[in-house]
Structures are given as structure tokens and as C-alpha cells.
């Protein structure tokens, strides 16, 4: 079925598509990022109809088609709902640089939230060290290093008192 590749030299044209953006966070994401940066706090927003607490905060509850209204402080502790150990050097599209594998990576449901947040786990990258249901907490960069980005969270780590 697959034809033989021809003997002739086959030309390719390498092109790097490099598009610059200046993204506006918008009203809801701005509050989330500013609170994280300035006060080290996590904010979600509650739907007035279904009461679902959503993080990141967003303008509309997708399920109820109503404007979200009530701000709720969340975490910083939470529960691990899923994890992986990443062996791939995933490229950060914003810097073009890879994250060094292997590393632990997980989905965390912050206390009070109906959403989960994917982030790095400060746990040795071994399956037997991580389990779904583990209690974890966010560890943030020092205030002066925070810029208003999820990378202001260094990682989540297990709560040792357990």
C-alpha cells in the first residue's frame, strides 16, 4: 500500500511560527491572579443557582448559564484526585523550554472548591509514594517572586501531620 519513498532528495521548508500576544486576564482572572500574587490566597466563585464553587473564577456558570456572583476563598489545603509521573520533557509553550522529567504531577481539589487544579507535586516520582485521596497543600513562592501566575505556586506537597 505504502509507495516506496522516491530516491530523489525531498525538500522541506522549515518555518518557525512565532506569534506574540498580550493577553488580558479579564475581570475574574485578574482578581484570582492578583490575590494569589499579593496575598497568597486562592479565590473561586460560586454559581448562584447550582452553588458550584468554580476555580479559576469565570464570568458564567457553564451549567446554569448565569453570571457567577459570590467570591469564595479556597484551600490552601486540598485532596489529590489524580496523578501521574511524567517521563516526557514537556515543552512549556510560553518559554519553549522543557520541564525536566521525571516529575510528579497531579490534580488537586482545594478545600471548598468543586474544581480541580493540575500542578506539580513535591513528591518523589515513585508510584508507591503517591495515592489518590492524599491530603496536600500549596507551597507558594515568596511574595517578592510572585508575578500573578500559577507558577507562583511552586508545587503541592503532602501535609505531614497526617
Amino acid at each position: 500500500m505504502e509507495p516506496e519513498e522516491p530516491k530523489q532528495e525531498l525538500i522541506n521548508i522549515p518555518i518557525t511560527v512565532d506569534v506574540p500576544y498580550r493577553f488580558a486576564a479579564g475581570t475574574y482572572m485578574a482578581k484570582f491572579l492578583v490575590e494569589l500574587r499579593d496575598n497568597g490566597k486562592f479565590y473561586g466563585i460560586k454559581c448562584p443557582v447550582c452553588k458550584r464553587v468554580q476555580m479559576p473564577p469565570r464570568i458564567v456558570c457553564a451549567a446554569c448559564h448565569v453570571k457567577n456572583t459570590e467570591w469564595v476563598e479556597l484551600g490552601p489545603e486540598g485532596t489529590l484526585v489524580g496523578f501521574t509521573i511524567m517521563y516526557l520533557p514537556l515543552t512549556d509553550p510560553t518559554t519553549g523550554k522543557p520541564h525536566e522529567p521525571p516529575f510528579s504531577y497531579g490534580s488537586v481539589r482545594l478545600d471548598g472548591s468543586d474544581s480541580v487544579l493540575d500542578h506539580f507535586l513535591n513528591i518523589e516520582p515513585k508510584v508507591e509514594k503517591i495515592r489518590v485521596g492524599m491530603r496536600v497543600k500549596a507551597v507558594l513562592r515568596p511574595r517578592e517572586q510572585r508575578i500573578g501566575d500559577l507558577s507562583d505556586i511552586l508545587y503541592f506537597e503532602p501535609i505531614s501531620r497526617q
Binding site: Q8, N12, I15
Partner: protein, 153 residues
């Protein structure tokens, strides 16, 4: 909007960078190899509708005939300016500094035209209908910049 605005306007600069690599295909490769190695420009003749196309392509868009490599023919290198513009602004995607001139040039023997730079002439002297010929790059890599530009005869 204003009732929601308790926080500063928050903007973040980012780039999306994707390294793409576009294969020219068999016919396109033959075009570029001929350009790179022999400094000749190839088009392709549609046996059905008799048009000679640049760039070469394996389907005639107009009659949907399949075009084969053995119908590739040398066109130009001389041609006639069909239209042109002077670009005064600069962009990172430009391969040369502004101001520069783009032209659409109908190569002799072809029924469609090539877009390229026109240089070695002042903008005020360029005219539709002007005869031009290609100038080839010293170092050729198998892409369209193997022609650096067209210049007046």
C-alpha cells in the same frame, strides 16, 4: 462592566512558538532542486486545459486534472511585471529591511505569475509591463529565497 472592576487591568505577554516543517512533495522538490542546482525555474503544463502553472502543482485547480512530473517545463527566467507595491513598514517575518518592493511577475511561457521582490531599481521607475529577470542567491538552500529578487532587464 465597571461594577465588577475592583482590580487592576492585568495583562501578560506571551509568545506561541511552533517549529513547523513543510514538505514540498515530489514535484515541489524537483522545482527547488532545479532552482538550487541549475538556477532554472520550472512550471507545469496541464495537458487538459493547456495552462502552464507556477508554482508547479499536481492538480489543476481549474479542471481538476492530475498533473504529472513529466509535464514540468522550464519557464522564464524573464518576465513582465503585472503589479507591484512599495512596502514601507517592517515586520519580523520580512526577510529584508523596508522599504522594499514586491511584484507579481508573469514569467515568459507561464499562464500564472510569481510573487517576489523587485530590486536594483527605484520605486518610481517601476511600471506595470516592465520586463525583469531573476537574480539568484549565491548560496542556495532550496527555498523561494534562492531567487533574491527580480531586476529590470
Amino acid at each position: 462592566m465597571s461594577e465588577d472592576r475592583d482590580y487592576e487591568i492585568f495583562e501578560v505577554d506571551q509568545h506561541i512558538v511552533a517549529h513547523s516543517k513543510y514538505y514540498a512533495g515530489r514535484m515541489g522538490s524537483r522545482f527547488y532542486l532545479t532552482l538550487r542546482d541549475e538556477k532554472k525555474i520550472l512550471g507545469i503544463r496541464c495537458a487538459n486545459c493547456e495552462r502552464v502553472y507556477w508554482p508547479p502543482r499536481s492538480t489543476c485547480g481549474r479542471c481538476f486534472s492530475q498533473l504529472s512530473e513529466d509535464k514540468m517545463v522550464e519557464i522564464g527566467p524573464r518576465g513582465t511585471v503585472e503589479t507591484f507595491t512599495l512596502v514601507t513598514y517592517s515586520e519580523p517575518v520580512h526577510p529584508r529591511k523596508s522599504p522594499f518592493i514586491y511584484g507579481i511577475i508573469r514569467l515568459d511561457g507561464a499562464d500564472t505569475s510569481i510573487v517576489h521582490f523587485i530590486d536594483e531599481v527605484e520605486f518610481e521607475k517601476v511600471q506595470i509591463g516592465m520586463r525583469v529577470r531573476p537574480v539568484f542567491a549565491e548560496t542556495r538552500n532550496g527555498n523561494i529565497l534562492d531567487i533574491t529578487h527580480f531586476r529590470p532587464l
